[in-house]
């Protein structure tokens, strides 16, 4: 029989811990092995019990959950899921701050009356507890690559990013120069209504302008484009991005497959599609459309992606996709985009030309 997943709950409310325990243990495959009511208790408990996962509140007496995450990742690295009633969305970037400190993901406290929400919580606990713990790496990856030959904007960079993706994304975006000439559209899997917070998080790590795309067409220009997870981010034309509320073939929002596919439709071979960490296989299907159109497919190396499901699925489906450690992807984008912008006025004749540029 498979051993139960072992979880430690950190929350200052005794009632909240009791309810979370009930929710988490409901299916019988997860056991809450410890509870802590503040950050000090949490660090000692996690170090002693070595659980598979920690659930973390943010606002607690004494050290905040954000500080506690940092301490745990230094002393006893463990997958951490932030579950809090803090205003994570709107203008707050607390959820993304938690990710910067080392948390895997964040979600609002679910209502016990909401069966979908509690089932989602249990799924997240199972998924994240399977992941290897790793020591938090400083966000400082050095200076962005110099923009040696920035030419006019050409094409689009489309990125698929799932759970664990924001950390990878930060390492990619930090490497892009302030005058990176290409639009960067991101399909980031996250809870609904976090787009503004996500945009603020991205603004804190890149000098590029960050825009939240809505139902009205947003002109494509250099900068970063995101959308809320209540809708899909799609390329409407070579000049506009837009969101659509639903698509019959893509129930999960936002769909990277849809973003990649629509990018290929309107930008042909001048698309660069990147698949970063995440659960599931979103991005794989759309990557095929990009490759067929002559674009460049880049996949985060599965060995270093956490979680690696999305990169694994993409590399299996498209062995010719360029697979590389996340810390090199930003440099590759800078190199390809600036070179391609300088060298071409039209998409290259075939994909091998583009791949050759990437290999330079």
């Amino acid at each position: 029989m498979k051993p139960k997943k072992r979880v430690v709950i950190v929350d200052d409310s005794s009632l909240a811990r009791t309810i979370l325990r009930e929710i988490i243990q409901a299916d019988g495959d997860i056991e809450v092995v410890g509870e802590a009511q503040n950050g000090y208790e949490a660090v000692g408990l996690v170090d002693a019990l070595k659980p598979d996962l920690v659930t973390m509140d943010i606002d607690m007496p004494g050290p905040s959950g954000i500080d506690t995450i940092g301490w745990i990742m230094e002393k006893a690295p463990t997958p951490i899921l932030v579950i809090t009633s803090e205003q994570l969305g709107g203008h707050s970037s607390l959820g993304f701050q938690a990710i910067q400190r080392g948390a895997m993901d964040f979600m609002p406290k679910p209502s016990i009356s909401d069966e979908q929400a509690v089932a989602h919580l249990r799924r997240q606990v199972r998924t994240l507890s399977e992941l290897p713990a790793f020591v938090h790496v400083s966000a400082d990856d050095g200076e962005p690559a110099p923009a040696t030959r920035v030419a006019r904007a050409t094409g689009i960079v489309a990125i698929a990013s799932g759970v664990g993706g924001p950390r990878a994304l930060s390492r990619v975006l930090r490497r892009l120069p302030p005058d990176f000439p290409c639009p960067v559209a991101i399909a980031q899997h996250m809870p609904p209504r976090f787009a503004v917070a996500f945009a603020r998080y991205l603004e804190s790590i890149t000098p590029l302008p960050v825009r939240v795309v809505g139902e009205q067409p947003t002109p494509i220009a250099p900068g970063v484009f995101v959308c809320d997870s209540t809708s899909h981010l799609v390329v409407k034309s070579a000049s506009d991005l837009v969101t659509v509320a639903a698509h019959k073939d893509y129930p999960s929002k936002p769909s990277a497959d849809l973003l990649f596919g629509s990018s290929a439709d309107h930008f042909g071979g001048s698309v660069i599609a990147v698949v970063l960490s995440g659960v599931g296989s979103d991005g794989s299907r759309g990557l095929g459309r990009v490759i067929d159109a002559g674009g460049l497919a880049v996949v985060e190396r599965p060995e270093t992606a956490i979680p690696a499901d999305m990169p694994k699925a993409a590399s299996l489906a498209w062995p010719d996709a360029r697979t590389m450690p996340v810390e090199l992807i930003g440099d590759l984008l800078s190199s390809v985009v600036t070179d391609a912008s300088a060298k071409t006025t039209a998409p290259p004749a075939d994909s091998s030309d583009r791949l050759a540029i990437a290999d330079d």
Binding site: S13, L15, T18, K109, P110
Partner: protein, 97 residues
Amino acid sequence: MSLHEKFREQFVATATQRFHTITRALDGAHSNAMLDGVASELHTLGGEASLLGALDIADLARHGEEAARERRPADLRAVLDQLEVAIFAQDLARSGT
């Protein structure tokens, strides 16, 4: 028994206790530290209410927390009046009255 029913009694007891802690604090001088303490208590109450699915209480607690953090004691009092009624309503529902 649903999870909501299972935890409602405990929630009402906890919410009532937190409410009294808050009103006692407001009876004293309105220092910034006191208002921060009230905001924190309301924040925790809001989280507990969210978990229980008592969304009216969660919403009121959030408004009260904002009023306390933004040093608006008159607004905070008004929210607390509504909060008391909402907690009482949960208690009535629990006892089936």
